[in-house]
């Protein structure tokens, strides 16, 4: 049983295929995921890296499960903050479900540790990223602030 966990849901007017593309392809992710790029071959067992604009690896892990355009499970370890790195791997899941003209995106992020610093940090970050993703897919434009790496990190 996970000790620290959150579940976020957003409905986006798009198709599962477009949402999958937005979640995985660098030309999309850098527009809403604070200018980061994911390095991954997108197959089970492949390494996954979230790379900051200055080249530092912000987070890294492995693809646990991949079923485009329905489900992605990653292990996830932060590399920027030692207190979070020492917590080890968290687990992030995307589930995409088409509902009418929208796609329900369910994001779960958990760690087998009570009061995890990693989970606390990502639980603050994800609503911004998700709002940026929704705006990008529905309007074609980035939300101000979600297309740039935050200063001082």
């Amino acid at each position: 049983m996970a000790e620290s966990e959150f579940v976020y849901v957003t409905y986006i007017r798009t198709t599962p295929e477009k949402l999958w593309q937005a979640l995985t392809e660098p030309e999309f992710t850098r527009k809403f995921w604070v200018a980061t790029v994911q390095e991954c071959e997108w197959k089970q067992g492949a390494t996954w890296k979230l790379v900051a604009p200055d080249g530092r690896v912000a987070d890294a892990g492995e693809v646990v499960e991949i079923d485009p355009p329905r489900k992605l499970v990653l292990t996830w370890q932060n590399h920027l903050f030692p207190k979070m790195t020492e917590e080890g791997f968290s687990r992030m899941t995307y589930v995409l479900e088409a509902k009418g003209g929208t796609v329900k995106l369910t994001l779960t992020h958990s760690m087998e540790k009570k009061d995890s610093k990693t989970i606390k940090a990502v639980s603050n970050g994800w609503p911004y990223i998700l709002a940026g993703l929704k705006t990008l897919l529905e309007t074609g434009e980035s939300l101000p602030g979600t297309d740039k790496w935050p200063e001082g990190i």
């Binding site: 966990e5 959150f6 709002a131």
Partner: protein, 112 residues
Amino acid sequence: MWTMSADVDRVFKALAAPERRLLLDRLRAENGQTLTQLCARMEMTRQAVTKHLRVLEAATLVVTRWRGREKLHYLNPVPIHEISERWIGKYERGRLAALADLKKKLEGEGNG
């Protein structure tokens, strides 16, 4: 049930009842609770809590997940965040956070 994208009306309506805001506070304090856990700490009948949770779920302010036979309730801040993004600019956010901190300090944590 929910077929349209985040409906702002539903979010405001769901937030307009003190009982429902209290349920959100309880989930913020401890995320992933069952109905029984939520009821144990409320001065409301189980039916009333169920009814309020349904309104919160329709507004996607609460999302549920099954773990075995247990239905767990989670606070979903995404719709509130979307509302804040609509009216709060990028540069105002820092100043607003500073004001909110000041208010919290002056009024004491308990009244937040």
